[in-house]
Subunit: 229 residues, 2 copies
DNA sequence: CGGGATATTGATTGATTTCAATGTGAGTGG
DNA sequence: CCACTCACATTGAAATCAATCAATATCCCG
């Protein structure tokens, strides 16, 4: 569950999205994490919590990137979201986590008891409002994900993904991807081969450049936006 | 916007999902709709609100079925959800509706001002909690939709859809579908032809029966659940 | 009974998957 | 310092599932 152990001695941080430009989490809730949160380091691919576990804690990413995902019985995996520094995750209204949360890169998070937040919300209307805003924000992301998965071609999905990552990271034109091609594929509902081929396609069209496999430069945002429909 | 006109004289109701078994909306919020809500009838295919309009009202389905959807610039449509009697929709944390809401069949809804609900929530912790629960419930549905669209075959999508509809309607083994094949296709990220063919496939496998095109009997739930992965 | 919308079925095409091989780069140990 | 290795990524060829193009069937409803 909270496998702190695996993270010990794993302080290197190759990939970094320091602070999403627009924090979806309001300050009253953010304060709660700052004031009563405990810290935790997780090594790459370390699990923060598993699907079906009691949702007793909520988390906020401090450093690194976290993914939430779910496995189908035959091994197919759907990545639900990538969480960047500043993002809150694992705060459920239900009793159990419906996804597994793992560190994509070595990561640090702060966590607080869900019951503490809920108690806080009953006393403080601002916190209660933040809980709602946060769920609504997550819902908005989920809806965008649905739009992506529903009717878009591989090229459109990759374009949308790159634009999303660029918007959420600080350097707007060069994106460092902490996640593997498999992670991207499972997020976009494609195979790893199709992701690779499609990236090559965009590179050949001079829409993007690849200084390295995990560093992508957006050369033609107009074209990417056009693909984003 | 609120095109009441179109609904006049359109009182017939062919398809009916009377009251979802498990109402996702808690009672404090439900009371608000009952106490301060105004009624509205909408004819089949009538628009309740459009994408981008001010989200000044929240709605609850009383009768009939409502769909929320979004159009891509080239005409592709993604249906986000089908709302059944008891379901609340259009309650956004943002200022604008991000989807269009239309009546699938002739429908009745009650609506209240969003500002009234928000004001109520600041005074009443129970209402505030309900807002959160409701957003979280909608988020859960969105996540299930993502799982469906991400990695599932046409047969799995249809199976999941039929099971979802059966679970949400009162008669568990015979489902009356108020929506067209096109609506189903746009919800599942398939074409109308694939939906039709896949339904025929399941019929030939004796997994379902079709007394009529829009009435489907689930003969082999075990098989459908197996397909649901 | 007709007419228009809705649904099914058929033939073909095409995008993505699958299966398979090769390439690349970071870390390790000789 | 270089070869080795392992994980990750790319590329190629073939197969497959769903989309597309096209025709026909069915069902409401006037």
């Amino acid at each position: 569950m909270l496998n702190q152990d695996r993270a010990i001695g794993a302080d290197r941080q190759f990939f970094d999205f320091p602070g999403a430009a627009q924090s979806p989490v309001r300050h009253a809730l953010t304060d709660a994490f700052t004031l009563i949160g405990a810290s935790l380091n997780i090594a790459r691919n370390g699990e923060i919590y598993g699907e079906g576990e009691a949702a007793d804690y909520a988390y906020k990413v401090v450093r690194g990137v976290v993914r939430t995902s779910k496995l189908l019985n035959d091994g197919r995996r759907q990545v639900s979201a990538f969480l960047l520094p500043g993002d809150v995750f694992g705060l459920e209204a239900a009793e159990e986590h419906r996804f597994t949360a793992e560190a994509v890169s070595d990561a640090s998070v702060v966590f607080v008891k869900r019951s503490a937040l809920v108690a806080l919300a009953t006393r403080d209307g601002e916190v209660a409002n933040d809980l709602w805003i946060m769920a609504a924000t997550e819902l908005q992301r989920a809806h965008e994900h649905i739009m992506l998965l529903g009717r878009k071609s591989a090229r459109e999905r990759i374009a949308a993904f790159l634009l999303e990552m660029a918007d959420r990271s600080e350097h707007s034109d060069t994106v460092d991807l902490p996640m593997s091609r498999q992670d991207i594929a499972d997020y976009l509902g494609l195979t790893i081969e199709t992701v690779s081929r499609t990236i090559t396609l965009l590179e050949n069209a001079a829409t993007i450049k690849l200084p390295s496999a995990r560093r992508i430069q957006l050369c033609n945002r107009v074209e990417l936006s056009r693909l984003n429909a």
